[in-house]
Symmetry: C2
Subunit: 456 residues, 2 copies
Amino acid sequence: MATHGHAHASVTGAARRPVRLNLFAHACGHHSAAWRAPGSSVERLADITYWEELARIAERGRLDAVFLADGQSIGTAGVERGPAWMLEPLTALTAMARATERVGLVTTVSSTFWDPFHAARLLASLDHISRGRAGVNVVTSMTDEEARNHSMTALPGHAQRYATAGEFLEVLQGLWESWPMESILAEPDGAYVDPALLRPPLHRGEAFAVDGPLNVPTPPQGRPVLFQAGASEPGRALAARHAEGIYAVAWDLASARTYRGDIRSRAAALGRDPDALAVMPGLVPYVASTEEEARRRKAELDARLPVQDSLRQLSFFVGQDTSDWELDAPVPPLPPLEEFTGPKGRYATVLRILETARPTVRELLGLLAAGGGHATVIGTPERVADEIERWVDAGAADGFNLMPPTLPGGIEEFVDQVVPVLQRRGRFRCEYEGTTLRDHLGLPRPPQEIPAPTGS
Amino acid sequence: MATHGHAHASVTGAARRPVRLNLFAHACGHHSAAWRAPGSSVERLADITYWEELARIAERGRLDAVFLADGQSIGTAGVERGPAWMLEPLTALTAMARATERVGLVTTVSSTFWDPFHAARLLASLDHISRGRAGVNVVTSMTDEEARNHSMTALPGHAQRYATAGEFLEVLQGLWESWPMESILAEPDGAYVDPALLRPPLHRGEAFAVDGPLNVPTPPQGRPVLFQAGASEPGRALAARHAEGIYAVAWDLASARTYRGDIRSRAAALGRDPDALAVMPGLVPYVASTEEEARRRKAELDARLPVQDSLRQLSFFVGQDTSDWELDAPVPPLPPLEEFTGPKGRYATVLRILETARPTVRELLGLLAAGGGHATVIGTPERVADEIERWVDAGAADGFNLMPPTLPGGIEEFVDQVVPVLQRRGRFRCEYEGTTLRDHLGLPRPPQEIPAPTGS
Ligand SMILES: Cc1cc2nc3c(=O)[nH]c(=O)nc-3n(C[C@H](O)[C@H](O)[C@H](O)COP(=O)(O)O)c2cc1C
Ligand SMILES: Cc1cc2nc3c(=O)[nH]c(=O)nc-3n(C[C@H](O)[C@H](O)[C@H](O)COP(=O)(O)O)c2cc1C
């Protein structure tokens, strides 16, 4: 079977490929109680120097990129429990671009709420300003509260959102190619631009009608690197067609490997090279000089977490009210994935944790406190590096989306302690070889053919 | 008459008020042939260091702000004739904010094409990143080509666009107040945000429905400084109600004085303090150590301008085909302002030039070549400073929107030669007194009452 052949090739080939490392920079860190810890960065979240510092630390560690998530509402249900959003990511990343020279800068754009001409412009401009270091995680958004901030009464349905996302990505790509740099002649006695070289997409679709051309010329990378983070069937289909990086959720190596194999098969079936697609599951690292110390630090953070808050977060993850669940009893049975209508990826993770660890409610809360079910490694720098190598060598990941429990502390520890181990072992770059995010990820410069949508 | 009383107070009060100076940073400069000159900046337009350099020069001159215009299409009809747009202004200004410490940063947002939640967020974020230096020029846009980049088939009508602009500004202001900094408690053992202090606008209007609150907290200035540049009746009404700065077009002192008086009367009639509204006509300065040298430089630039290009630009300004106009004959009679359906402000200026100067077609083209009919001063630094003082003292302006014919040369000359004259005469600051754009312009920090729309 062609599908198996590709999945297998990836496993054997993986050991020789370099590890990708991406910093997911979120608020005071990914642990829900990070902002409550003494000396946390909670006072600095609206201060751009905090975000610039995170980008500089990532660059010191020669990481591929810094990634900022985004949401389109304050998240009223969660504002008491801790910080989510503060600065808008495109502006924050522009400042971060000017505070660094090499590290990639990945933002998040919702195709459900953004006008593609504005999005294409802002992203192209970020790519010019950063000299080819921009990336974009295209998401479809998750809540009615977000819709009600954008003149809609409710979120469009899941299938509708993904159909729009596909169209959105096609418009973006058309716009990025529409004003080629070569068209700028700038002849002192002649034309500034040769209009014959413009390629307006003249897009007429279900969701958008966009003539173009864009009024920002083709960005240095041809187009910003495209990321995707949806785990549902249409999410995977979109990722297989367009994504060059995937932010995945995987609790354990086995599920990560299955997921990566599936995505690579889908990409190959569309005629794409599966190696031009980096699958990066989230990784929550607790690093210290001894495993005991790392566990102690995790327990200290966990202890700052109000149980009621964790229960509320769990209610969101599983789509039902969990506030009356008995803390020291086993987690009650949950409906199968097919019946769940919320974000499927995270729900699948919860089901996976229940299946593999059979935890009590209290134990489940602890496992979800940082990152909500992403892989968690607790131990010495060597132990964390071992685990990273193990996943990559097993074909379960091309690298990781680092989700340190606290920031900036957690990423400093990783960069200063884990990265040198990976470098000594020859698994991670000691210097950037290139200057663009595409260079770092070993991706070709577009335009390439965009595979046509399949009939499904 | 109350109207006259106010207008008169402004005239006598003006002499003691400081001059406002704003750099309108556009492409290689405001002269249509600037990019054709030897040593022009045309190769650097996509290079953010060019824009950062302009902001640093403005700051060296202690200017109030740097302003970037914006359009929502490449402007196909004009791409051969010279550069218009390149980097997207919100991202460019974010980088410029990090390259400077004091100068204000004014962007342009079209209320016809922007979703107010996105616009409010980006602007609030720019205000946080710049620590209170953001401003926004809200425009209603001008062409169908722009509409066709945003899933519309044509530009909505003029009245419709201004109705939307009014609603847009109300939504923005509601959103900026909706997540007050005081609501962020960040108590280690308590709540992060007190939800009782959130003020979601729950806006339900004709053009927009926006619940809020915004997911960026109230910006340092309360809100970015609001600018307006529309000269039509609804444009003036909008400016009188909301604007704190006005980018005007005035060919001569008399028309500038009439315009400023009108705007101040309208603001006063709405219960606003007319002194909290800076009217800044455009000023195209040709500065050199002798007037002869300044004239020579202007003639040199004018000579680089292909006559056919200027005729095409003129066609746009007057809304009719001028390509067969006889160059050395007087300009043919034009229809009165009321019959003109395009941008009224600039058309009024052309009528004013015809009335005051009775030029031939060739002479009119020369007068429009830089800035399209803004006031033009040619001479020594003292002469330019004299003219600035004369307009401000006559109540014709609160200061000027500087439109140097070439950049960066033209603004360097102004900052290094004209600013010191104004400083010696006690008419311009030698150091910034405050840190925010509101400080520079002597504007109060909102929230103030927003005057209700009048019944017109
Ligand atoms: C690491 C990671 C980061 C994500 N970042 C965002 C984000 O910034 N904004 C957002 O709306 N959704 C984000 N998501 C959610 C997904 O993009 C997607 O919308 C969600 O998983 C639901 O889609 P699905 O039904 O295809 O799984 C993220 C998911 C993952 C795993
Ligand atoms: C100095 C100045 C700057 C302007 N900048 C812009 C701009 O960046 N984008 C835009 O669409 N219109 C711009 N305009 C045009 C006006 O905002 C307005 O849309 C135009 O004058 C038509 O409106 P009106 O009919 O009210 O005059 C500018 C006008 C002036 C005088």
